[in-house]
């Protein structure tokens, strides 16, 4: 039996405000993808009320929902950006 994966998913701006934290810890089974992490975040932080398809970054790159995650990955939820 493989070890579960634990991530501290980074939050920014309005997401961090809504969650009251700059990260949220989630645990997903081995072989999980971005979508599984999102589902776990929704359960762990219902106050966050994420949009249907929030942007996610894996290791500083935008990643689709079916991208696999691995131990040590840096995961972040990206609210609609507003630089400039």
């Amino acid at each position: 039996m493989q070890t579960m994966l634990t991530f501290d998913v980074l939050l920014f701006a309005s997401y961090a405000d809504a969650a009251g934290s700059s990260s949220i810890r989630v645990t997903v089974p081995p072989g999980a993808a971005v979508q599984d992490v999102l589902d776990a975040v929704r359960v762990a932080a219902p106050a966050l009320s994420l949009p249907t398809r929030p942007l996610v970054a894996v290791n500083h790159r935008y990643a689709k929902a079916d991208v696999a995650v691995a131990a040590g990955d840096e995961l972040a939820l990206i609210p609609p950006v507003a630089g400039g």
Binding site: S14, A82, G84
Partner: protein, 142 residues
């Protein structure tokens, strides 16, 4: 080519001097500045929240993509972090090229792409003491 997140005021003249090479005949500079109102609300300052390592990666990627598309590596992009006062520059994009059309096209492409992709967020501080995250697509912006 250089991109940077900076915590101090942007030096426009230094960037202009840095980016122009002897073969360039044109320099296009775009400067975003903090304006005193948005959606009819009086603004005091903007506080930029940045996902720094990813923002740096995306700014570098933008510069490389623009270089390939517009034929110049003479590109400098700087974006402020933290509090930026009224009238100060929040972002500067400088592109130099032998010909003006490429320089202007490239700087415009970069600012539009930056506002779509680079993980930076702005918290507007209003003169009435309230604050609000600005989300593109939700409100008009500069």
């Amino acid at each position: 080519m250089r991109t940077a997140l900076v915590g101090k005021p942007i030096d426009v003249a230094a960037i202009a001097a840095e980016v122009v090479s002897p073969e360039d005949g044109a320099l296009s500079l775009f400067i975003g500045t903090v304006r005193n109102s948005n959606q009819g609300r009086a603004v005091d300052a903007i506080e930029y929240n940045v996902y720094a390592p990813m923002a740096e990666r995306e700014m570098t990627a933008l510069a490389h993509e623009a270089a390939a598309q517009f034929g110049t590596s003479h590109i400098v992009i700087e974006h402020r972090t933290g509090y930026v006062a009224l009238g100060e520059a929040s972002v500067a994009i400088a592109v130099a090229h032998p010909h003006r059309a490429n320089a202007m096209d490239a700087s415009r492409w970069i600012i539009e792409a930056l506002k779509t992709r680079v993980p930076i967020w702005k918290l507007e501080h209003y003169t009435d003491g309230t604050r609000e995250w600005v989300e593109h697509g939700q409100v008009p912006h500069a």
